[in-house]
Subunit: 347 residues, 4 copies
């Protein structure tokens, strides 16, 4: 049994890590930290885990916790993660970081978008961007994995096949995403209170959202040249799920939906967590709720020459904790789907 | 035009007072206070009031505001209201207080349930409990009206006809209420955040909710002897509305639903804001959303001799701001329905 | 008092017409039809209208109803409306048609997208597209107004200022809309049942939605040359509201958000139902719920040269019944805002 | 591997049986029937099961299907189940019936409440009421299990300990239940459409709901004498979950919450699917969503001598398909929690 610890376990990503790792057959959770809930039992904060998790929250003291586990999941706020990742890394531990601190390869870009300096550029250099469908080989050998953001996961998986094959104009990409409210975290805030989100729908962070450079970095890497995108997130009155609608121009006229579907199916043929839909049905966030799937639908608009791709993920699973566990499974040589054999409990 | 001021205008009751009073033909809002939003324009906090309200929030300084209006609506936290009510009252102003501070006639009961002393028992003595269906005559002459709590409004209107007529056993009353989340106010709080309320449903404050003594005071007054009730509130994942299901035993066996309906219809025949339903349909909070109505359904269970009464109100209208305006209309001799000619915008 | 009749009054647009017209000071509803509810009282189908509407549903027999009113609102299914509109028109009545039957100027385009022939091309020629912000003058003299679709209303008001001023590349327009479920009508259907929509979110009708030609017709008219768009609707788990996010390329680089806002404010300066937001806040469907407003937000993405416009309307008001009443007010010379002085009852 | 078949697999209970049984380590689904979806692949109707279920729906022809499996789950409409159960039973198969047809021991009571005769009284006599916490021993030897209704499950588990111990007045029981909308099934219906349920809340079937005799039968059995209850169900705008609030009078004054909790904990000490909460927190339907748990909270109201019990279950799991699988596990000697080791994916 691999011993794992969770740093930052009282948020939504943390509670899902607690739940899923407790049911995982190859690991044992040995510690969980939380600043705000330190001193409480996990089940006091999360009564739904009664009967499953018998741990208490402790404060994050790296020197104390480092000896307790072999692999560390970090679900800490951005910037706060830098030091902890580096500490565990230097102690020869495996680290999977759910924050943004090790996702952007260029420290200058990180500083521009997050407003803080990166203090550990050498660790950053070794960190692997943990999107298995793009980087599985590197993840296998990685000691530090930067778990992708929720929006980038849905956007990148929707663009990768068409962009890789050179089917689309890379200057035409528009990404319109709609996220369930758990994406904003578990926190006290008037704008996130029930009455402000329920029966409401709005865009936010237009042209300024921090996931933009992350999306552009990976698209540029796929394409081999600089890609820029328009990215607009919206807040959806559902607990979980991100639906991303992507628009771009096809380079060649005359390409049909069927041809594009072929490209997508070929690309993802062996992927355990990508499901490419046919022409009869479109993805819905409900179909991936509670699962690690990314569902993809593809349509060509013959009248305009536009390609429209729709992807659906659960922001807490494939968009956070599920992908983190998938990364762990790859890093440690476990079966990739272990602990993630999950299907949506509909409705 | 009557000049009115709103103290505590940045919560949900306050925003409804702003909206409804701005559309009221007999009044003009001259000031609105808010501690947390002081210095902001109303439309910065409430963009939905753009084009309607052109005021800024000011801090509550009684000496400053007292000269600006003839009637004051107070939507302040419990305990905070005592002093302000008394101040405006001593300045010969009309006051409608939406807090609980002047609802309980017995200062000892107030202290027991709210944990603070009542410092103004002489003002308390003059305050009228503002449920028009029970106390319209007194409200007409009142200078201080204690606007009823949201739960008591639905419970009392549901019990009044049967209790007044002596049809039910007064020791058998059980009140099971379910309230929309706006009843908890506009505030930053993890348990009230979207993801904690959506797709959730729970009871709270069993046997300890502060609206209990208010319900019991009025039922005892109706009956002329002490009445005690079991009252359980629940938190409903809707923005607005309280549905209250009331259970009690009929004194006489053989009474049918039709006979009870007659009693309810007789009692409320002239009430502009009570709608008694027939045997074909039951109240739903959606039918009263955005309105000042209390809808009532009545059923007798022949098998058990039980009477079940269901009432629906909008907690922010008949349960707060709407009733406050109804009280103002009565106090000032306006048409009772002025500004409240509202029907639910379904769906 | 103008006598008005509603044909097709048992759907959501119909129930809103019933509610709003009953509160309108210049008109009296004299008849309301419904095939499925014929023979029932309105309040049996819509208990929320108890105390407001005292009418029964009758079947639609044009010969019978034509004498009862001066102006007819038609909320009938597409194709079913053609004959009724023409009948009332030939009887010299005013007609406001909420269906799509008289929106598309070219009968061939109508036939292509709706699959039925247009049997009344001469009436079609006289019909005015009832978007007051574009066609107020014509509406004033019209006898037949084709009330716009809900999606086109939000899309057109969002594009009109920038397109008219020639600020954007007309080949770059992408319209991503998200609509509340009442847009699908009041009907029995598994995919529209609560458990299939709640906690769900999906796109539908990609590249094939029937509102596409309507949007393109009006944009082409504004521009004076053929415009084509990519339009994708999504189903939002809220009762009401459409948020439309529009993407297009600015022709000139260097234009800033402020400059665009100026253009939008200038265009809509005198419009009673358009509210252009500033740089601090973005539209939300909740702010227009139950109102006839179209709220607009504008942002320039300096990094990409993209313009992003967000509009919010209530699909049943500005997107249907509210706009129909606005059109009636204009046609009949009433105050344009009569019966529509509505602000969102938040939350 | 036990071969199992599901009759009536295109509803919500059916889709959950498909999902959970596919992940169960001791069984293999060999057939699934549906009248309305016959001829379709399961994944066409339920895209969320893509990658898990590779079966097609067939029509229910008992003679054809009987040979395909050893155990049959029947999720058919009431009355339709009688014949199928009897057929499979006579073919020596194990049967778990999710309908009401074999729950009521007295055929006259069945006829009174369901309006149809029971044609198989001899099979009825052998059927065991499948609430494991009350009847585990009998279930072990049963060939036909009548799986309990969703409301009775929550009501009975909440009353059993106190009633069995004689702590409460059996004539004082009031059961106020609130159910998520999936309890009404997967069907096309205006009253169940999204816009009619969302932001709504109503009671239904007051004093007439068909689960009443089922609750009374089992309570009478526990108590050894006839028990009658007032039972009121309500429709909750959530997908899943039933919260039941039970009111009754304690026989002895002076009993405290702690004493009652002891009684409940003792009773359920060894139950794998009952969780008794302490005095700090109350059950919430969200904590049991997607699980087979029944969570229970208990409070004594000292002022009135009332006992209030709150229970929460997932109506599709412990209230239907989960309990059916639990019953199968008991009948077949599998580990009772196999396939049901599920914790709520919050939020």
């Amino acid at each position: 049994m691999l011993k794992v610890a969770i740093c930052g376990g009282s948020g939504y990503a943390g509670s899902e890590l607690l739940r899923l790792l407790s049911l995982h057959r190859e690991v044992k959770i040995t510690a969980v930290t939380s600043e705000r809930s330190s001193g409480s039992r996990v089940v006091e904060v999360f009564p739904h885990l009664r009967g499953l998790v018998d741990l208490g929250f402790e404060p994050l003291v790296p020197e104390v916790i480092v000896g307790k586990a072999d692999l560390f999941f970090l679900a800490l706020p951005h910037a706060a993660s830098q030091e902890a990742v580096s500490y565990f890394h230097s102690a020869k531990k495996h680290v999977i970081d759910l924050s943004a601190d090790f996702r952007l390869k260029d420290p200058a870009v990180y500083e521009e978008w997050y407003g803080v300096r990166h203090e550990y550029p050498s660790v950053l250099k070794k960190a692997v961007y943990g999107l298995p469908e793009l980087h599985r080989r590197k993840i296998r050998r990685a000691r530090v994995v930067a778990n992708p953001g929720c929006y980038p996961t849905g956007a990148l998986l929707g663009l990768y096949p068409a962009l890789k094959e050179g089917l689309i104009d890379q200057d035409s990409i528009i990404i319109d995403s709609k996220s369930g409210t758990s994406g904003a975290g578990r926190k006290a805030s008037v704008p996130l209170s029930f009455c402000e989100v329920n029966e409401a729908f709005r865009a936010y962070g237009i042209a300024t959202h921090r996931h933009t450079p992350e999306i552009e970095q990976e698209l540029s890497m796929i394409r081999g040249s600089r890609v820029r995108v328009d990215f607009t997130p919206h807040l959806l009155p559902v607990n979980r799920g991100i639906l991303t609608t992507i628009y771009c121009r096809l380079k060649e006229s005359g390409l049909e939906t069927g041809r594009l579907l072929e490209c997508y199916r070929d690309t993802y043929r062996k992927e355990p967590f990508v499901r490419v839909y046919g022409e009869d049905v479109l993805p819905d966030v409900r179909n991936v709720r509670g699962t690690n799937f990314c569902d993809i639908g593809v349509r060509v608009n013959r009248r305009t020459g536009g390609l429209i791709v729709v992807t659906a993920i659960d922001n807490l699973l494939k968009g956070a904790s599920g992908q983190a566990i998938q990364n762990m499974n790859i890093m440690m040589g476990f079966k990739e789907t272990e602990g993630l054999d999950l299907f949506a409990p509909l409705p």
